[in-house]
Subunit: 394 residues, 2 copies
């Protein structure tokens, strides 16, 4: 047929993670490569009850087409939860999306012209790189560390370019597990104040803090520039694909048009079940259980790393979320380590897909949320042996 | 903030239907304006059973993240159903989408560069106009009539332009209710054979035939050019938003990348429920019930029109689906009729949103699937009175 495809689709990276996971399907491989929540914590019995009750009480109402904005009572619940955390959000400023991934797609659709400047974190969330690539944005990656985004390069870019979007995951970032300090957030807010840049604050993990103190949201520090993305995937269940966007009236009007054009509305049955579940259960109690479990899994991973990894290797110290980030000595390739690790029956995600235009990086991502503590210890031990051998053999 | 928006979003028409429906919220208004399936026919008890069984038997499996392509067994079911209708489709060539609306968005993403030529039907499906507008396509509307698409203008456009996509709804089209004859389909296939144009055959209503003989699918007549869109919204339930795309390997590979970037995957719980429902029930028996009911509702509308509409008014004779299309005498405005009709407590959708670049058209859409026969008779009587008065007063 010749090249029938759009230019944009050739700019989008294939999911490297999917490709790589094919190498690690063997059941005997301990995988830290996933990005899945711990399924043992899914509230199955409560979801069963909510679903049964809903079908009994609301019957065919929950099977019909619904509104593009999303179920009104679910939007009210979300607004109320923000208010309880001192974020003043009106339900009209909430759009229910097909997962927060769709939030990025809708923002790309409504905000980005070809070549528009987008600041992303380095390393950054792969899903955001994919979503914004579709709209042919020009990426400006800015490094992140345990304090947050590096302020000097950030300031230089916002001073010298019209930056349309700054996309960030300030709490327990995927892939690195880092969080922005309170000071770092304030500096970023100060630098963007009065500028036309939209700060997209993606916060799927914010509720999953097991250490340290909660920080201010950019939505509190810089409300006029901030668009919030949220999700029930990490706090309730992922398979329903229920997320949301919070945006001002002007942006919301365009987002609703984009939503209609994209999929009419988010699956309504799932919205109703989530809402029923939230109404009938103690969500804070449930989230506390997840926090405690992930805290223990994270601790198991950190202790095993301390015990088994060579001293040349550094790693992040997440205070929440699902991921931890490892840095090898300069010049080493995480991809090479990966190939050897899979032979030794342990897997992770080499850092490559979390960078724009960088290959054979010396960093990789470890997930602890989907692996139990005992398995974490065994897997990190295996990985430690691989690292020792590879470092010794350099 | 100044204009922060993308050029593309300003090209997308707002949903005129949503706007107009706000004028007809009054409960005493009989509305033929909706596009909803008849909720009385939703298989509520069967969905309850399927959902309960699934949560009991598969538990947390149905709550976790899943694959971008969709649930394998559901894709196999769809492929098998096509095979039973002599369409040879491999499950690998099926992608499960968030409704067939998302199919259009993904095709726009993967195929359309700015300004690419797209042939649409005139009148055409509003959701397709919205979806492709996002990708800044150049629309070439070609009129449709009770035989199908008008072949002369169609041939002229495909001969003189590189047409990227021809989007059509050959069975019981929304908004007009018309279907392409067998000859018309063959002529279109012949004209496109050997050309690089992708024929997007959107077929949400194909199973809902209550009159006449089933026609060949473009997928049978022109397999190398055709991409199929399907949906469970009209045959099972709409609220789950489960549709699909059938495409060749080359296109499928790009569609999966676009799907990942758009929303990772379609709501998995809904996919599993639909599959469980299909496995445990007689879907043909169920679809027959819908066919019979819609056939009666259509007949009620046609007889009422014959009785109450002035002779100057023409209308289509759908053999399936949910809609019927009315043409007023030249020069009359359906929008003006609409305003008067709402005062007389009856509503429909003026034709305007189904055209690109035309206003104050003399056509309108009537939906019969969501109104019972008795109410259809009362509503069409009211509308007939409005039409008589307006025609007499010209």
């Amino acid at each position: 047929m010749g090249n029938i495809f759009s230019d944009r689709i050739s700019d989008v990276p294939r999911s490297f993670i999917r490709e790589i996971l094919k190498l690690a399907v063997d059941e005997s491989v301990i995988s830290f490569a996933g990005g899945l929540p711990n399924r043992d914590l899914f509230p199955l019995e409560e979801i069963k009850k909510a679903t049964g009750k809903l079908l009994e009480e609301s019957g065919k109402d929950v099977l019909q087409y619904s509104s593009s904005e999303g179920f009104a009572e679910l939007r009210e619940w979300i607004a109320e939860r923000y208010r309880s955390k001192h974020c003043h959000v009106h339900p009209d400023n909430i759009l229910i999306t097909s997962g927060s991934q769709q939030g990025m797609d809708l923002l790309g659709k409504t905000l980005l012209n070809d070549g528009d400047n987008v600041i992303i974190e380095e390393p950054g969330y792969l899903g955001a790189i994919q979503a914004f690539s579709i709209y042919k944005s020009t990426f400006h990656p800015v490094p992140v560390n345990e304090e947050g985004i590096e302020l000097d390069p950030f300031h230089e870019i916002v001073s010298n370019h019209y930056v349309k979007i700054f996309y960030c995951v300030p709490n327990f970032q995927n892939p690195s597990g880092i969080s922005y300090s309170e000071d770092n957030r304030k500096s970023v807010a100060h630098m963007l104040k009065g500028r036309p840049t939209i700060l997209v604050e993606d916060d799927p993990y914010g509720e999953l803090r097991f250490l340290g103190k909660e920080k201010s949201s950019f939505y509190q520090l810089l409300p006029e520039n901030t668009v919030l993305l949220g999700s029930f995937s990490k706090t309730v269940v992922p398979s329903f694909r229920i997320g949301w966007i919070v945006a001002n009236n002007e942006i919301m009007e365009k987002l609703v048009i984009a939503k209609q054009a994209s999929d009419l509305h988010t699956n309504y049955f799932g919205q109703r079940i989530i809402h029923q579940y939230l109404k009938d259960n103690d969500i804070d109690g449930h989230i506390n259980k997840i926090r405690q479990a992930y805290g223990k899994q994270r601790d198991a991973m950190v202790s095993a790393i301390q015990e088994h990894f060579p001293a040349e290797i550094s790693y992040t110290h997440p205070e929440g979320g699902m991921f931890l980030w490892v840095t090898l000595p300069a010049g080493m390739s995480a991809m090479e380590i990966f190939k050897e690790a899979v032979k030794q029956k342990v897997a992770f995600v080499p850092g490559d897909p979390f960078y724009v235009n960088r290959k054979d990086v010396n960093t990789f991502r470890l997930n602890y949320s989907s692996v139990d503590e005992e398995t974490i210890r065994i897997g990190i031990n295996r990985l430690g042996n691989v690292l020792k051998t590879m470092i010794a053999g350099r």
